[in-house]
């Protein structure tokens, strides 16, 4: 097995364990218990750091998209999400369309 396969197998196992632990604790622990709050905070922070890196300094094929196009996609998606009161799909479509448009204009 490759490292990617091992990582996948371990992530599956730990993910099931986390869900199982949550089902066991449900009813015993309040959702605002400090341990639960800490796990939530780490989860949000990791995701926020990942998204920041993916937009600011992406790797792979996304790195070929100029920064202004990525920022335009983010701004258009955010604006559409706000104007459309939280409708995800049209907001994502607006963001991707803006990214493609700015990339086309910028060459």
């Amino acid at each position: 097995m490759s490292q990617a396969d091992w990582a996948l197998a371990l992530t599956i196992g730990i993910g099931l364990a986390l869900r199982g632990l949550g089902l066991l604790l449900g009813g015993a622990l309040r959702p605002d218990h400090p341990a639960i709050a800490w796990a939530s905070a780490v989860s949000v922070a990791t995701l926020a750091a990942f998204v920041t890196l993916a937009i600011a300094v992406p790797s792979g094929l996304l790195a070929t998209v100029p920064l202004p196009a990525r920022l335009a996609g983010l701004a258009a998606g955010g604006l559409a999400f706000w104007l459309l009161r939280g409708r995800l799909l049209p907001a994502m479509a607006a963001g991707l369309a803006a990214l493609l448009l700015v990339r086309l204009i910028a060459g």
Binding site: Q3, A4, D5, A7, L8, L10, T11, I12, I14, G15, L16, L18, R19, L21, G22, L23, L25, G26, G27, L29, I36, W38, A39, S40, A41, V42, S43, V44, A45, T46, L47, A48, A49, F50, V51, T52, L53, A54, A56, V57, P58, S59, G60, L61, L62, T64, G73, L74, G77, G78, F81, G86, L88, L89, A91, M92, G95, L96, L99, L100
Partner: protein, 225 residues
């Protein structure tokens, strides 16, 4: 009542949630193909990890040549929300024995729908409704992952790059929408501020360490205030 509730759940899953979620799994399938990993890897990841945040982090670290341990820690940190999500939804899924059927499907889309709809249903209908919704969502996720993986090599590079942008954008919007919930805003800000740390440290350990440091500081900030 059980079959009817399950059908209702499935029908609701196949509306707007399936479209929004399907778009992200389509992008994930394309990203896995882009990273040179197999369709089987993509399907097992979607079917068994079934948490897009962790899937993306896992893909980034593992496909970048990272070792299994940091990739697992980073993906687990990104999906650590499984724990509070399961704690919150457990009482709505009925008595302890039967609720285990829901275990593999506790993920953001079924969870958010379940938290909204389950309290409005009579207790015997809750678990069947959740399983109907979750199974329909899960099949959509698998189908769109396969479609993304198979279509990616045939798309022009510009479109593939745009597709890869879909997931960071999706999570950016979700995080922004969640920012007003208690505890989320500081953790979100701490994660953004910790991103340079992840970048500076680089390698496979950068992201999990940044998430751990940022999340812990945000948690302590919330307790101290």
């Amino acid at each position: 009542m059980s079959a009817g509730a399950a059908r209702q759940g499935a029908a609701q899953a196949l509306g707007a949630p399936a479209l929004a979620m399907g778009a992200t799994f389509l992008a994930f399938g394309a990203a896995v193909a882009e990273a040179g990993l197999s369709l089987g890897w993509a399907l097992i990841c979607t079917g068994a990890v079934y948490g897009m945040a962790g899937q993306l982090v896992l893909l980034q670290v593992a496909a970048g040549g990272g070792a299994a341990l940091p990739a697992t820690i980073a993906a687990t940190a990104a999906n650590a929300r499984f724990l509070p999500m399961a704690v919150a939804i457990a009482p709505l899924l009925g008595r302890a024995g039967r609720r285990w059927w829901a275990l593999p499907f506790i993920a953001i889309t079924p969870w958010a729908a379940g938290m909204r709809v389950l309290p409005t249903l009579p207790e015997p209908a809750r678990l069947p409704w959740f399983l109907g919704f979750a199974l329909a969502s899960w099949y959509v996720a698998l189908l769109t992952t396969a479609a993304g993986h198979l279509a990616a090599p045939h798309l022009p590079a510009e479109l593939r790059a745009a597709l890869l942008f879909a997931n960071p954008l999706y999570f950016c919007l979700l995080l922004a929408a969640d920012a007003r919930r208690p505890g989320v805003g500081p953790a979100l800000l701490a994660g953004v501020l910790a991103a340079p740390l992840a970048y500076g440290l680089g390698g496979a350990w950068g992201l999990p360490l940044a998430g751990l440091v940022g999340g812990t500081l945000a948690f302590l900030w919330g307790r101290w205030r």
